[in-house]
Amino acid sequence: MCLSAEQRLDNPTLLIIGYGNTLRRDDGVGVEAARWAGEHLARPGVRIFESHQLVPEMAEDIACADRVVFIDASVAGLGVGKGRAPGEVVHEVIKPADESDPSLGHHITPQVLLAMASAIFGGCPEAELFTVVGSDFDHGSGLSEPVARGLSRLQELLRAHTLTERSCP
């Protein structure tokens, strides 16, 4: 259900995807952020997904968007969370994965999704990834305190980032 090129230019679309497991506390921060975005950032041209994880079929929706914002959680000390404290919000502009991308699993990364979007569906959205560094990934719901603060910060960032309209290159 992609829009035509002309339709898109008139009405650039933004896709926000927040993902994570809300029953593993801080892991759910992406979903929480997406829910918040659904209440505060929804307007025509903005689509918001909340999901347990990234799945390949999102590639098609991504290909249809002009901009994509991914929101994820990361464990402090690992990956993006390395050398960072819980609650930090890391912002990255991301590009489709090249073939040397190491992260392969049921867990598809945003970069891989972008690569799929472009290789399979020919979409080339601008993309950015917000990662909130978390500390508590135990069973249960609700965010740890630093991550809750990180979420507030993230909301400001999201508001600022999504208000600026950008056109598809």
Partner: protein
């Protein structure tokens, strides 16, 4: 008992006392009693008998003499002379009795020129330590029930209220609401049935003013209540006293029985048409039951929880009837005011705060105990002179007033006069009169947490901000003390203080952040020192790594 009978009893008792050459008073209030002053009294009795002087020496149990740190206390009245002894043990009894006609026992004697004694002004405590609280005659001999008789025979209820208004007396339970105004509101509230309640649910940590008054001079409170009932048109009263005060309860019960037998309570009081009954209600020790609406709920047999005011108890109180609630110390001031006139009372204290205030000194101070001082006296006077300063050569740091709802006042403000408004300006409150002195070894965050823990466990659980907010604040304080808190935690703590203060249902909740707010006001550096600024929290700002 008619006025004449009363006068007769007064004179007889006075005569009997003056017939006696020496009167040995042994304090049997809870403090000294806990040091077995009852055994001491027995020992002195024996020594008197042994010396064969029982006709000229009276040995008496009396109430609190104030200097509780020196207990057991004994005073010996010989005519107009009075000698005071501290730390008296049963084995000292013989020596004490022998010394009656000679020199006082030097090693046990309290210096009579101690500021602790000379700087006090006693109204509420005028009989404490002087009369036997279990003897109605003793109270009557000290002009007891004269005020009630005077009111019933010479004054209209309006006159009584007017006298209280003239006195400028303000509630001694903590709020400082003008007593006369409260009385007149109840008097004016429409209703056939009205109640008078004495709040004796003293719950502040470190406070024991009310207990001491009840143990030392129970009739004074009954008389005050009877005067109030007469003034507002009530015929029934309750004393809500905490069950943890067994001695006070026993003495109150005895006093009520004595007063009823003597016709000073019950129907036709003093031969008039005025009737007033008093019942005791024992509280189970919930701090919040000191809040008047919660206290009323408890008296009614319900769960002790406050309800929003208005309507105030003066309009809708016990069983929905207009109800006057004052605390023990307030009632204890009434008889002297009616007896001596409101103007007399108003001449003591300051412009805005009349009369005296009883304080319980506790903590790092030499003379712990009970004192009564005129309003407007400086904190320095209390701490350094009356209290005798901080022990062990340590530095004074702060004085905590007003209990859990109060705050800490640092050394810079020691010269401020003790008044409702000045204490409020300093971020504390007058409260019911607990005063805890802290020295340099106390950390103020620990102090704040101690009081927060109290507020948290004493929250009734009805309203959300107090129930959960106190837990949250306690948690944050614990975190700060453990060195695990980030600067943002302190911000959150401040924010919670504001919310809890402004949104809680009753005074307990609204004032629960006070210990934090007042310590933050003067000792914020002690909080900051304990924050972890290089750990997790400090760097919890957004990092931006473009194009990673």
């Amino acid at each position: 008992m008619t006025p004449e009978e009363l006068t007769q009893m007064r004179d007889q008792t006075r005569q009997k006392k003056s017939d006696c050459k020496h009167c040995v008073n042994v304090c049997t209030a809870a403090g000294c009693l806990s040091l077995r002053s009852d055994q001491l009294k027995d020992a002195i009795d024996k020594a008197v008998h042994h010396a064969g002087r029982q006709d000229e020496v009276t040995v008496k149990s009396v109430g609190c003499m104030g200097l509780c740190s020196g207990g057991p206390l004994v005073s010996v009245e010989s005519g107009d002379d009075e000698v005071m002894y501290h730390d008296v043990k049963p084995e000292d009894a013989g020596e004490l009795v022998q010394s009656l006609d000679t020199e006082p026992v030097k090693r046990l004697q309290c210096p009579s020129d101690m500021p602790f004694f000379t700087q006090q002004t006693k109204i509420v405590l005028e009989n404490s330590g002087k009369i036997d609280p279990e003897l109605l005659e003793d109270y009557i001999a000290n002009d007891g029930y004269a005020a009630l008789t005077k009111a019933l025979t010479e004054m209209s209820p309006e006159d009584v209220i007017k006298e209280v208004q003239t006195s400028g007396l303000r509630g001694r339970g903590g709020g400082g609401y003008p007593t006369g105004l409260k009385w007149s509101t109840v008097a004016k509230s429409p209703g056939q049935k009205k109640y008078v309640i004495c709040n004796a649910d003293e719950g502040d940590p470190g406070a024991f003013m009310d207990r001491s008054v009840l143990e030392s001079d129970p009739h004074r409170v009954l008389e005050g209540m009877a005067l109030a009932a007469y003034a507002v048109g009530a015929d029934a009263g309750y004393i809500y006293v905490r069950a943890e005060y067994p001695l006070a309860i026993a003495r109150l019960k005895r006093a009520i029985r004595q007063a009823e037998r003597a016709g000073l309570l019950g129907a036709h009081i003093g031969g008039s048409t005025f009737r007033f009954m008093i019942e005791l209600r024992l509280g189970a020790g919930a701090f919040v039951c000191g809040e008047e609406t919660a206290l009323i709920a408890s008296v009614e047999g319900k769960r002790g929880q406050p309800r929003p005011r208005p309507p105030y108890p003066a309009q809708r109180g016990l069983w929905g009837c207009p109800t006057l609630i004052n605390n023990v110390e307030t009632f204890a001031n009434i008889a002297p005011i009616v007896r001596n006139g409101g103007d007399w009372f108003a001449s003591i204290g300051t412009e805005k705060a009349k009369g005296t205030k009883v304080f319980a000194l506790a903590g790092k101070i030499n003379n712990t105990g009970l004192i009564e001082v005129p309003m407007g006296i400086s904190l320095r006077e209390i701490v350094e002179n009356i209290g005798g300063g901080v022990p062990d050569g340590k530095q004074f740091k702060a004085v905590q007033t007003g209990g859990p709802s109060g705050g800490c006042i640092p050394i810079d403000h020691l010269d401020m006069p003790v008044e409702y408004d000045t204490l409020k300006q300093l971020g504390s409150i007058m409260g019911s009169g607990g005063m805890i002195i802290m020295d340099e070894t106390s950390n103020m965050v620990d102090v704040a947490r101690y009081f927060m823990e109290f507020c948290m466990s004493e929250s009734c659980g009805k309203c959300v901000p107090c129930r959960v907010g106190t837990w949250q604040m306690h948690e944050l304080l614990t975190k700060i003390i453990a060195g695990e808190a980030a600067p943002k935690d302190l911000d959150l703590l401040k924010e919670l203080c504001e919310v809890v203060q402004n949104t809680s249902l009753c005074g307990l909740g609204m004032t629960s952040p006070n210990p934090v707010l007042s310590t933050l006001r003067y000792f914020e550096h002690e909080y900051l020192e304990r924050l972890n600024t290089n750990g997790h929290g400090a760097t919890a700002e957004a990092a931006s790594t473009e194009g990673a």
